[in-house]
């Protein structure tokens, strides 16, 4: 926006006398230029200026059933905060910083801090160059994100694969009539963190914190990725390739001393992804597919596809009801098996389109091989301009005793989160 105001500034200076009416808003360029001069100082001192956005949140998780393991705690409570700072250094340069932290009563691993974003971006004609920590999302589907690979999952935050750790990178982006092309250099790897022994929603064996890397470069292996995307009429298409350290480790059972644990092994992969969405009248058709070559193992394929149909103006009201169905397939087996190997996910999304932005999303995923069922219901609404309430319920039902999710079978939970934005 500052870019726009500043263009406007130059123009008004030339053409009319409205220059004086430039807003004293927090994002006006006049202010931003001043901020820009102090940017490094502010970053170093973690100063919370007037232009900081973010929220503070309190969350509780209530587990109706007793835990499976003696060392697991019953319920949990936590507080979290997210702070976001934006600086417009000049017309073409901006700096974005976003940090997240949580303190959790039951899980020392879930008490964590992460720099979600901290990057400098410069725009040149139809493109941009950015350097620093960023979050990149690829893909179109709802129930599983297959092509999305740049960022590591923030697995202790939520298992849904939508919370991500910040990824250091250099990104080049270019947009022309032939579409949009991005190139990424990823010089540092972020390991996945797993819940601690005292936490609910953990695997039966403890996951060791020091992983094994297939590449001798370890965390410093330089990964790279390319993505082209464009839209034509009703079609949105993306083709991507990633080369580097797999974000999902193999969890290999290992005896250390007299205790069995799981050791994460991060393999080198080449992943080519394809995503397409057709936007029809009230129906979205979606498909994501990946072909993954793992060094020393071979090639695997996975896809997810389905539709989202929306009934607009439900029963003459302004509410919309979306119906989502997706089928998931993944031929990785054994240690490499994914939860989405042969599953159907079906869901309903109700948006009331009211003052308070009330939304409900209910999802049921069924494993067609072992009959495991997972139910998730999320609802959120604004209480007023500053307060926001979110409620989530998750149920693991008819869990097969031999499946990896069996250790969650007593971990149905109800979560309540209240946020105060500022």
């Amino acid at each position: 926006m500052c870019r726009i105001i500043s263009h406007k500034t130059r123009r008004t200076e030339r053409h009319d006398s409205r220059t004086k009416s430039l807003p004293a808003g927090k994002r006006s360029c006049v202010n931003s230029r001043l901020f820009g001069a102090f940017t490094l100082l502010l970053l170093q001192s973690h100063s919370i200026g007037a232009s900081t956005d973010g929220y503070l949140a309190a969350q509780t998780r209530y587990f109706p059933q007793n835990p499976l393991y003696a060392e697991q705690s019953e319920h949990s409570a936590s507080i979290s905060a997210e702070l976001e700072q934006y600086y417009e250094v000049s017309d073409a340069h901006q700096i974005q910083v976003k940090a997240f932290g949580r303190l959790d009563s039951a899980d020392s691993q879930r008490s964590h801090f992460d720099l979600r974003e901290a990057y400098w971006l410069t725009t040149i004609e139809n493109g941009s160059v950015s350097v620093g920590v960023q979050k990149i999302f690829w893909g179109v589907t709802e129930s599983v994100h297959l092509v999305d690979i740049i960022n590591q999952d923030d697995f202790v935050e939520d298992m849904d694969g939508e919370e991500k750790l910040g990824q250091p990178m250099v990104q080049l982006s270019w947009t022309e009539n032939w579409g949009s092309l991005q190139g990424y250099l990823l010089p540092y790897f972020r390991s996945r963190e797993y819940p601690s022994e005292s936490a609910r929603l953990r695997f039966p064996l403890i996951v060791h914190s020091d992983p094994v890397f297939q590449s001798s470069a370890g965390k410093r292996h330089v990964d790279w990725a390319l993505r082209w995307s464009n839209y034509f009429d009703i079609w949105d298409i993306g083709i991507s390739h990633f080369s580097g350290t797999s974000r999902t480790p193999l969890l290999v059972p290992e005896l250390s001393g007299e205790v069995w644990g799981l050791r994460p092994h991060y393999q080198q992969i080449e992943q080519t992804g394809f995503e397409v969405q057709a936007t029809l009248d009230a129906t979205l058709l979606k498909l994501e597919a990946v072909s993954v070559y793992e060094t020393g193992h071979g090639r695997n394929t996975a896809f997810v596809g389905g539709f989202e149909y929306t009934l607009y103006g439900l029963g003459g009201s302004s509410a919309d009801l979306g119906i989502i169905t997706e089928y998931q397939f993944d031929d990785r087996a054994g240690l490499r098996q994914r939860l989405s190997q042969n599953d159907i996910a079906a869901g309903l999304r109700l948006s009331l389109n009211d003052f308070n932005g009330t939304e409900v999303l209910a999802l049921l995923a069924t494993d067609l091989d072992n009959g495991n069922r997972f139910i998730s219901i999320e609802t959120e609404r604004r209480l007023n301009s500053f307060w926001h309430l979110g409620i989530e319920a998750r149920v693991f039902s008819s869990i097969d005793t031999t499946s990896p999710e069996f250790s969650f079978h007593r971990d149905d939970y109800l979560q309540l989160e209240i946020r105060r934005y500022f």
């Binding site: 807003p23 417009e88 004609e125 009230a282 607009y312 103006g313 919309d320 926001h388």
Partner: protein, 263 residues
């Protein structure tokens, strides 16, 4: 016998065609006025606006949203617009990109900062509420001649000034309206008032346009738009706090790939 039957038929045919001719004349007149109005407004190239949208329910409770819109004029097709939400805080940074089309559905994307995700959304929801307000998406989209058929109704005084009253009949099959009744003042051909009729052809909403300001010595813009839903008694006021022309946007501004870095 034949003769006797034919004459009344002929007379009827002449009368009917006369009426048809009159209707056609009316329609042509309406089209000419609307075209003239559109032409007077053409050539604005681009603009950016800061707006406050205040929603009132029937009990008088209200809530405000702040948004900024960047607009790009596209000759002979629908315009492009990019809207950034500044409040409410939980959706701050959300970006909405709309590429209007004349008869095909618009292309729309939404960028959700919490997920870092750009999502194409179905534009069937043209008749759906924009930001939970009494404005529908189709009310805030760009006006293109080809979107409607026109019918001249009458000349009527509105707020003491003569106005053409013209019915706009949407050609788009998923429009939420059977017709719009538009009052255009005869002097500047600016919209003074619009009545929206729902699919049952009963009055749904009334829009009053006021605080007209002349920009760049040429373009009239209503800085206050008040939409009243006569059926549920809710009201939305869309106030333009600041409007600038000649912004000269970066080329990637109105492309899907540029949405993420809009601030």
């Amino acid at each position: 016998m034949k003769w006797n039957k034919t004459i009344p038929h002929l007379i009827l045919a002449i009368v009917l065609s006369g009426q048809a001719w009159a209707v056609e004349q009316n329609n042509e007149k309406a089209l000419a006025i609307v075209t003239e109005s559109k032409q007077r407004d053409a050539g604005w190239v681009d603009a950016s606006a800061e707006m406050t949208m205040t929603l009132f329910d029937k009990n008088g409770n209200s809530v405000s949203r702040e948004l900024r819109t960047m607009m790009l004029e596209v000759a002979d097709d629908g315009d492009k617009s990019l809207t950034i939400f500044d409040t409410p805080h939980d959706v701050k940074g959300t970006v909405f990109l709309n590429i209007s089309r004349v008869l095909e559905p618009d292309q729309q994307w939404i960028y959700m900062p919490a997920l870092g995700r750009i999502k194409r959304i179905a534009s069937r929801n043209k008749s759906g509420p924009f930001l939970g307000s009494e404005f529908a998406y189709e009310d805030v989209g760009s006006f293109e001649i080809g979107k409607y058929d026109y019918r001249y109704v009458e000349l009527e005084d509105f707020q003491g000034k003569p106005n053409h009253v013209i019915e706009y009949i949407p050609k788009y099959e998923n429009s939420g309206y059977t017709k719009l009744k538009v009052w255009l003042d005869t002097k500047h051909l600016r919209q003074s008032k619009v009545e929206y009729y729902d699919r049952k052809d009963s009055l749904l909403k009334t829009l009053l346009l006021s605080d007209y300001t002349l920009y760049e010595n040429r373009y009239w813009r209503a800085n206050t738009k008040t939409m009243v839903n006569v059926q549920n008694k809710n009201k939305t006021i869309l106030a333009t706090n600041k409007l600038s022309f000649g912004v000269d946007f970066d080329p990637a501004t109105f492309h899907r790939s540029g949405m993420k870095h809009q601030k």
